[in-house]
């Protein structure tokens, strides 16, 4: 019972303050594995580090296939203790394949 209580408390402690949002199109076409960027938002987003997240691995006209914004317990704790003045987060993005390739060949 004690083990369960500890597990429940640990779960509550480590998940409160955490969050995760995933954005993707209706038919995602990922051009590779996700890239991870650490980011910080200061004073409610008035200042950001980096100023904006550049999806630098998306080359040759590729757009984004998926963006995941998440905050772990440590990041949530920093945000809570600073009353949101410092809000770190982890951003994971995946590039999208640029377009649907045409069907080659065919005919005789």
């Amino acid at each position: 019972m004690l083990k369960r209580a500890i597990a429940a408390l640990a779960m509550a402690a480590t998940t409160s303050g955490c969050m995760q949002y995933l954005v993707q199109p209706p038919q995602p076409s990922l051009a590779g594995t996700s890239q991870t960027v650490q980011a910080k938002s200061y004073a409610g987003g008035k200042v950001q580090q980096p100023g904006f997240i550049s999806a630098a691995r998306c080359a040759n006209g590729e757009q984004l296939a998926r963006v995941l914004v998440k905050r772990n317990f440590a990041q949530g704790f920093v945000s809570w203790i600073t009353l949101g003045m410092i809000a770190p987060a982890t951003i994971e993005y995946s590039c999208a394949n640029a377009s649907e390739p045409p069907m080659g060949g065919g005919g005789d």
Partner: protein, 510 residues
């Protein structure tokens, strides 16, 4: 137009799509496709081949291992490398094989001949479905796994299967493949018994044609990337058709055992109507069985597929990473596992009746991290005994957040195919990654083995293969597979490039 040159990404930590494990690597190369205005050409394939060969040569010079990796979908460590990964996801060229490029000795029918398509390795199963199912092509895959995010080569290299009762697995669509082994060798491989591409076409690619026997092809087609880079495959396809799904929830009765254990569809709820696809999902914590049956409807006319996965704005469901937390909770509170398993089955299996092309039915799914899945295949006559053995294991271990999905697949000629039995039942053990789940996965093959049942395990899912188990499962095919690897990559140093711990631990390296 020339392709952009490969671009090096110095990332050191690679993780599989479902984030069930990580691997330290020496960096990742992004490979790009030549700009295409009129579709893939042989010149494009040659250019990509040259790029792969240069990277393989560079890796060898630097003492690094390499692996081509697609969607990173595998739950096993089959695709991993400690060296460079080649990101193939952008290599999505495809072409319909011209009649004039088909070998005159191709034994297929006129219909099969007009349904040959070449796909580059980075096409996902979704890409293949969408490319085939257009009004212009009016074709389809015969079978498919439940998901569509894997690349066609990644899925087939690891033996992904569906449950089409009259067909084999996904790799059984492949009739020819292009393999790049070293900095100066690449091969076009087919079965002797089924020549496909004209020699002139293969010569124009600059590849060495290998079709002196069937074994070489049957070795490479399921080889987890161990033979080099499979850069393209040629698939035989079906005329476009629709699937009508009729999911239903029933109790596990003696009558139902006739269907699950013997594919006898004279019983309720089938009443003699044999489906094209059949899956029974057993919840071991109860006598509930979710029956997933799909009926094939030919000649769909001008049906317009819609592949979109839309999350209704106000819907509530599990988050992307819900299962990682649930695993910990369920380990601590085992009493909630049985009701949870019912909920999980609803998340894992779409129970809404619908009609659509195979690409719609086996379409996009809400992404979930930390899923757990392993599969064991047995011959159909051993089906019931195997299921009962696993249900007993479930009772012995205690509630486990897993369900048993029973699928059926015909035998493949591939030497190390998961589908090795004339008619095999694949028990897919699906659920949440937790301590109890891992205990179940570890114990399941031991129990089935102790029961004296011959079995194989899914290469791309959690498995407990040892060199002894691989040898027992595949017999003489194992040596043929090893011989084929030595034939295509004679130098030990070149084979070592594609070795990884996964194949070493299973007696397949070296």
């Amino acid at each position: 137009m020339a392709a952009p040159q490969p671009s090096f990404n110095p990332k050191k930590l690679w993780k599989n799509f479902h984030e069930t494990y990580h691997q330290v690597i020496d960096g990742e190369w992004d490979i790009f496709m030549p700009q295409q205005t009129a579709g893939l050409t042989v010149a494009d394939l040659k250019e990509t081949t040259a790029q792969f060969q240069k990277l393989i040569g560079d890796a060898k010079q630097q003492g690094l291992k390499v692996r081509a990796i697609g969607s990173s979908w595998s739950l096993s460590k089959a695709p991993t490398t400690s060296g460079w990964t080649f990101n193939t996801n952008r290599l999505r060229g495809r072409l319909k094989v011209k009649a004039t490029d088909v070998d005159p000795a191709y034994p297929g029918t006129a219909g099969q001949k007009s349904g040959l398509y070449l796909f580059q390795c980075g096409n996902t199963v979704a890409d293949v479905n969408k490319a085939l199912e257009t009004d212009a092509q009016k074709r389809a895959l015969f079978t498919s796994g439940a998901a569509n995010g894997q690349t066609i080569v990644g899925a087939t290299q690891c033996g992904t299967h569906g449950s089409a009762l009259e067909f084999g697995a996904l790799h059984d669509h492949i009739v020819a493949l292009h393999l790049i082994t070293t900095a100066d060798k690449h091969y076009w491989i087919e079965r002797k018994s089924r020549p496909v591409m004209a020699k002139a076409w293969v010569d124009s690619l600059g590849a060495k044609l290998m079709r002196d026997d069937d074994d070489l092809f049957n070795a490479v087609v399921v080889s987890f990337g161990s033979f080099g880079v499979v850069s393209a495959v040629v698939l035989e396809t079906a005329p476009r058709y629709l699937l009508e799904t009729r999911p239903t929830q029933v109790k596990l009765t003696e009558d139902l055992w006739k269907a699950i254990g013997g594919l006898d569809f004279s019983v309720e709820p089938f009443n003699g109507d044999k489906p094209y696809f059949f899956q029974a999902v057993i919840n071991p914590s109860s006598d509930d069985v979710l029956i997933m049956v799909n009926y094939r409807r030919d000649d769909p006319g001008n049906f317009q597929p819609n592949y979109d996965l839309i999350s209704p704005p106000k819907s509530i469901g599990p988050g992307f990473d819900a299962l990682s937390t649930l695993g910990v909770i369920l380990d601590a509170f085992k009493g909630v596992i049985p009701p949870f398993s019912k909920l999980a089955a609803k998340q894992l299996f779409d129970t809404t009746p619908k009609t659509g092309t195979p690409g719609m039915i086996y379409g996009y799914k809400p992404p979930l991290l930390h899923v757990a899945s392993g599969s064991i295949a047995v011959a159909l006559p051993d089906a019931r005994k195997t299921i009962e053995t696993l249900i007993q294991l479930y009772k012995d271990i205690g509630p486990v957040p897993l369900v048993l999905g029973c699928r059926y697949v015909r035998k493949s000629p591939a030497l190390l195919a998961f589908n090795q039995f004339p008619m095999g039942m694949m028990i897919s053990i699906d659920g949440v990654d937790s301590t109890t789940s891992r205990a179940f996965f570890a114990a399941a093959p031991d129990r089935v083995e102790a029961a004296g049942i011959a079995f194989t395990q899914h290469w791309g899912k959690i498995n407990s293969y040892t060199p002894q188990r691989v040898a027992k499962a595949y017999g003489a095919n194992l040596q043929k597979w090893l011989d084929a690897r030595h034939k295509l990559i004679p130098a030990a140093a070149d084979r070592a490039l594609f070795d990884n711990d996964y194949i070493k631990e299973r007696g397949l390296a070296g």
